[in-house]
Amino acid sequence: MIRFLHVTKEYARTGAALKDATFRIGKGEFAFLTGPSGSGKSTLLKLSYADERPSSGEVRVAGMNVSTLKRGEVPLLRRKLGIIFQDFRLLDDRTAEENIAFALEVTGASSSVIPGKVARLLQQVGLGSKAASYPNQLSGGEQQRVAIARALANDPFVVIADEPTGNLDDRATRGIFQLLQDINMAGTAVLMATHDLELVRRHDYRVLELNRGQLVFDSAETGAPATTER
């Protein structure tokens, strides 16, 4: 599903953001990605959705090689992924349903299937009644739900989440996390970067930890439970 093989990413100005990272996330797996700010979490995620290319090593996602992907093929990769962010990244001047429909429209989905699918997705994330609301009329948690519904629009193999609960209060965080767990239960892999160690501790999922660009811990390799110290 996602495979990193000795992946290094260097930036001209700031140097190496990721050093020799090797790991594999399988089908239907749930994994946390932790580490302090600037440890390379976002870089790792960007490499996964081809927003960056590795300086060396190989990144394979959903059967595509990110290192050699042609520019025109990037959208094809993105359609196999669902990506969500701390800041939601919704189009402010479109309603919840328009935001979700947009992700379907870009793939050339037939306009006859879009409304039904959008309604189902909104139901799935618990926003059936908010279809016509604009992002600024929704709470943070609700906006993130819209973003998740959009991420699921193209039936992704994996959901990549970059601090999806970073801007949310406890209650909203629990709701969003539950939603991600449900998505995972339905068979979609989830790779979630987070600062929230409490959340990581409470769940028995795989943990990958980065520090200064290095993958310093992978619970799948050591077999150890999620750390408490880190």
Binding site: A50, D51, I83, V106
Partner: protein, 283 residues
């Protein structure tokens, strides 16, 4: 295509102020270029009217018969540079002289003035070099004994033409460049305002073509609207100026007006293409 049109129109509705600003910038740029074009067209028109006065007179020997004169005229009329050649008999010369001299009319008599061939040149041959060349050929005709043309007048016309053409090309290029730069900058701002939107589109897997198309259409529409507005402004300015009685000016003809609008559209399209490309280059 339906989606492209919807997205392009949506952007006008969502950012009406920015769209209006873009259209106005295009309009004012094209308007100032149009004003310059109007001045240039009218100057050109006046200039060619002055040029029509360039004439060559070839005076013939007193002994030349009317038949010879007529044959000469026919010969000269075949020169490539010549628009019209006409025989002026001594009598005609006299009556013309009398007409233009007014009170001195009695000073002249027919013996005094020679017959001549009067030559007008085609447009494009009214410069000093061509005039000189034709004059030389006329002088080579055996019975022609003197050739006159306003040498100084022709040379001055030449000088004015050189300066006017040079200034026109320089000013025109400058106006066009400024228009292009302003339009490109305006459209870039419009695209920049939507950089976030573009990045989100990319995120959900929109192809570059899908992202680009509405922008291109929007740029094209902005440009055409700007072109139309410019034409309207120009027409208004023209009407204002020609209300003064002493001004008798020409306006752009239909094909020029169409070209102007098309140029607006093209500028908008190219400006958008260029601005969007910068945002799509990444990765």
């Amino acid at each position: 295509m339906r989606l492209t049109i919807r997205e392009a129109l949506l952007s006008f509705r969502r950012a009406p102020l920015l769209s209006a600003l873009s259209i106005m910038m295009v309009a004012f740029s094209l308007f100032s270029f149009g004003l310059f074009a109007l001045v240039a067209i009218n100057f050109e028109e006046e200039f060619s009217r002055v040029e029509e006065r360039v004439e060559i007179q070839a005076f013939v020997d007193d002994t030349t018969s009317v038949t010879t004169l007529t044959d000469g005229v026919a010969l000269v009329a075949k020169y490539a540079e010549v628009q019209r050649a006409a025989p002026i008999t001594r009598d005609e010369a006299l009556s013309r002289a009398r007409e233009s001299m007014g009170e001195f009319r009695d000073v002249f008599d027919a013996e005094f003035l020679p017959a001549s061939i009067e030559v007008q040149l085609k447009e494009g041959f009214r410069d000093a070099v061509s005039v000189r060349r034709v004059a030389d050929s006329l002088e080579a005709i055996p019975y022609v004994n003197d050739v006159r043309y306003g040498e100084e007048f022709v040379q001055q016309l030449d000088a004015i033409r050189t300066v006017a053409t040079g200034t026109g090309v320089a000013l025109g290029t400058a106006f066009a460049l400024v228009a292009i730069i302003i339009i490109a900058a305006t459209i870039r701002i419009a695209v920049l305002a939507r950089a976030r939107e573009i990045s989100i589109m990319r995120l959900v897997g929109a192809t570059n073509g899908f992202i680009r198309r509405p922008f291109l259409l929007e740029g094209l529409l902005t440009g055409v609207a700007g072109g139309l507005l410019a034409l309207l402004l120009l027409r208004g300015a023209f009407a204002l100026v020609t209300r003064l009685d002493f001004v008798n000016a020409l306006f752009l003809d239909r094909s020029m007006a169409m070209t102007g609008i098309a140029a607006g559209g093209l500028l908008g399209f190219m400006g958008s293409a260029f601005a969007v490309r910068r945002h799509l280059k990444h990765v």
